[in-house]
């Protein structure tokens, strides 16, 4: 038989996957634990983009994909989507966040104080090559402050609202099942506010940065000031069927508020994610700040940036171009050749 037997294709894809997995070797609980401990910020990024908060599952996703980030997020999302939705947790208020880091660029000092918390912002980015030649790096001990910052902080925008500088968004009355859920319904435009914030929270970090950066450089209408950036832990409060409310645990969250002058008031952009993702939050909040009234088709228009920062879709479409396209190509060739032949035939009598 002249045609390739089907088994050929099946064997090829099986062996190609084996090649990939063989490189990674055995994956066990210890490796997952190591990933979780060694790479918490990467785990946070994956949890944010997958919109699933589970450090162990995120670390497992990273381990089994060898750190191929798009694959890790996809495998986690594909797992997430099959899980039952048991309940909707109570809303989280800024004031209730157990805050680790909280800074404002808008004021020298703010009520509650600037809290630097853990950051590499002021570190000198020197590669610790000594580690490779046998000298382990032991981090110096942290010296506790004599006067620790309070765990709970008011929001900066609340102060600004009290001083008539900013209009806070109207509180969203939707609760529980009535909150629109992007993972259960399509994103349509103009987008529901909940969908916008969910979409930004799930967005691919690099994509949000690229478009957010474009807006910051001048392709947006508003130049952001970081009003408040927070890394914190939030209590997940759910209701037992018997009516008791209880905390199911804490999750790491990050959020950013950016502002810019809009006439006599401040415009406000906001973003929040699961896990600590500073760059993403600031970029996403900048896009949010710029989206109001953005021209159709501009990078700061909601439809434009929400569609194009959806990492699972974008990366999937990008790699789909590896699939054979010879039927569509054949169809185009046919039209091209025919047009060319027709033109040649038309020109002949004139010569």
């Amino acid at each position: 038989m002249a045609y390739v037997a089907t088994r050929g294709g099946e064997r090829a894809i099986e062996q190609s996957e084996r090649l990939f997995r063989a490189e990674l070797g055995q994956i066990d609980a210890a490796r997952v634990a190591e990933v979780k401990q060694a790479l918490p910020y990467l785990v946070d990024r994956v949890m944010g983009e997958a919109s699933l908060y589970d450090e162990d599952l995120a670390a497992l996703a990273l381990a089994q994909t060898g750190g191929e980030l798009y694959e890790a997020v996809l495998v986690l999302r594909a797992w997430r989507t099959t899980q039952p939705r048991l309940t909707v947790a109570a809303p989280i208020e800024q004031d209730d966040l157990f805050t680790h880091r909280r800074i404002s660029a808008a004021f020298k000092d703010i009520p509650g104080g600037q809290v630097l918390g853990p950051t590499l912002d002021y570190s000198h980015r020197v590669l610790a090559t000594d580690v490779l030649t046998g000298t382990p790096y032991d981090p110096p001990a942290v010296e506790p402050a004599a006067d620790p910052a309070p765990a709970h902080q008011p929001s900066v925008s609340a102060w600004q609202a009290a001083n008539d500088l900013v209009d806070l968004p109207k509180p969203d009355a939707a609760t529980g099942e009535a909150i629109p859920d992007l993972t259960r319904e399509p994103l349509l435009f103009p987008s529901k506010r909940a969908h916008t914030l969910q979409s930004l929270a799930r967005a691919e970090t690099g994509g949000v940065l690229a478009l957010g950066y474009a807006a910051m450089r001048g392709y947006g209408q508003a130049h952001p000031t970081v009003n408040e950036l927070r890394l914190a832990e939030a209590e997940i409060v759910v209701k037992h069927p018997n009516g008791t409310e209880f905390s199911a645990g804490r999750v790491k969250v990050s959020q950013a508020e950016v502002v810019s002058k809009k006439g006599e008031r401040l415009g406000l952009g906001f973003a929040a994610t699961l896990g600590w993702n500073e760059v993403k939050c600031i970029s996403a909040a900048t896009l949010d700040l710029n989206s109001k009234g953005a021209p159709k088709g501009s990078p700061t228009e909601e439809e434009f940036f929400l569609y194009h920062t959806e990492g699972v879709e974008a990366s999937g479409f990008c790699i789909h171009f590896k699939l054979p396209h010879y039927v569509t190509f054949q169809s185009s060739l046919d039209a091209m050749r025919d047009a060319k032949a027709t033109r040649a035939a038309e020109q002949e009598p004139a010569e």
Partner: protein, 304 residues
């Protein structure tokens, strides 16, 4: 009431991978898609264990329709042995226990990328087409909100203008695959990127076709016995690819859509794009008792 009563017993995977609520949403959208042929219905489009753009839309439809008795065929570019077709077929069978086939005549459900098989599909068969871009207006209007408004207004003027400009510039419509087509006289759809050769197979067909774009989250359908008319001008007729006179170098079959295979000597050889029809043709030529179904084209001419 207890927390446990709100959910069902834990299982590593739902039947057909998708959970019941995902399937119900797809069912509701399929109902609407069939009731308004050619109109793109938005749906949530869950993640599936395959990359977006690799047939996740078609896969979600197949996973919803499938049961342990459904005989499934999967093709990519007309071929059952294409690696992604093999991958999707293996996945469908693995999560449903459904039998698989390569033979179009045996299949209850056919999931396909870029082709419709050459053998005429029956009333009891369902064709699921994977769609990368569901929006026929994308080339004249990339903004989806504006494009939706244009569909709402049946405002296809710019689409017509684009075709007209092609004729003026190149002497013919230059659209290759995914030729824009009017469905039931109301909605222009892109018939997934099937070649022009395959579009007439959708017109007044006996079978139901469901087109699903997972990444773009849109589903649409062509019911049986539904008008599907490529957009053409009265004086410039619709033209399928010029394959009517080509002969398959492997099976000897003539008058079907072909793959062009460049040769070392600078010429081209051709082989049937519908690989299993090619296999069956060869086997018949070798004297095997093979069922070859009636085909939409006979000697390169549309038969129906």
């Amino acid at each position: 009431m207890t927390l446990a009563s709100l959910t069902k017993p834990w299982a590593p995977m739902s039947y057909g991978f998708l959970d019941a609520s995902a399937k119900r949403e797809l069912r509701r959208k399929m109902v609407k898609a069939v009731c308004v042929p050619g109109c793109q219905m938005p749906y949530a489009s869950r993640e599936v264990p395959m990359a977006r753009g690799w047939g996740t839309g078609g896969l979600q439809v197949s996973l919803t329709l499938i049961n342990p008795q459904t005989c499934v065929k999967v093709i990519d570019q007309g071929a059952d042995d294409s690696v992604n077709a093999a991958s999707i077929r293996r996945f469908l069978s693995r999560v449903s226990g459904a039998p698989v086939t390569l033979d179009t005549l045996q299949a209850d459900l056919i999931q396909s990328r870029h082709r419709i098989p050459e053998e005429i599909l029956r009333e009891d068969q369902v064709l699921v087409l994977q769609v990368p871009n569901p929006e026929p207006l994308r080339s004249v209007q990339p903004n989806m909100s504006i494009a939706r408004q244009m569909h709402g207004d049946a405002d296809y003027g710019r689409m017509w203008l684009q075709l007209y400009e092609q004729i003026v510039r190149s002497g013919r419509v230059m659209q290759g695959a995914s030729y824009p087509s009017m469905v039931n006289g109301r909605h222009v759809m892109t018939p997934s990127p099937i070649p022009r050769w395959d579009v007439p197979k959708l017109h007044m067909a006996k079978h139901l076709t469901i087109l699903s774009a997972g990444r773009e989250k849109r589903i649409f359908a062509v019911p049986p016995y539904c008008r599907v008319e490529p957009l053409v001008f009265d004086d410039v007729p619709y033209r399928v690819e010029d394959h009517a006179g080509l002969t398959c170098s492997r099976s000897g079959a003539k008058g079907f859509f072909m793959n062009e295979v460049p040769q070392d000597d600078g010429t081209s050889a051709f082989e049937l794009s519908d690989s299993e029809y090619g296999v069956k043709s060869i086997r018949r030529a070798e004297g095997d008792p093979v069922d070859l179904g009636d085909t939409w084209y006979t000697n390169g001419e549309l038969t129906k």
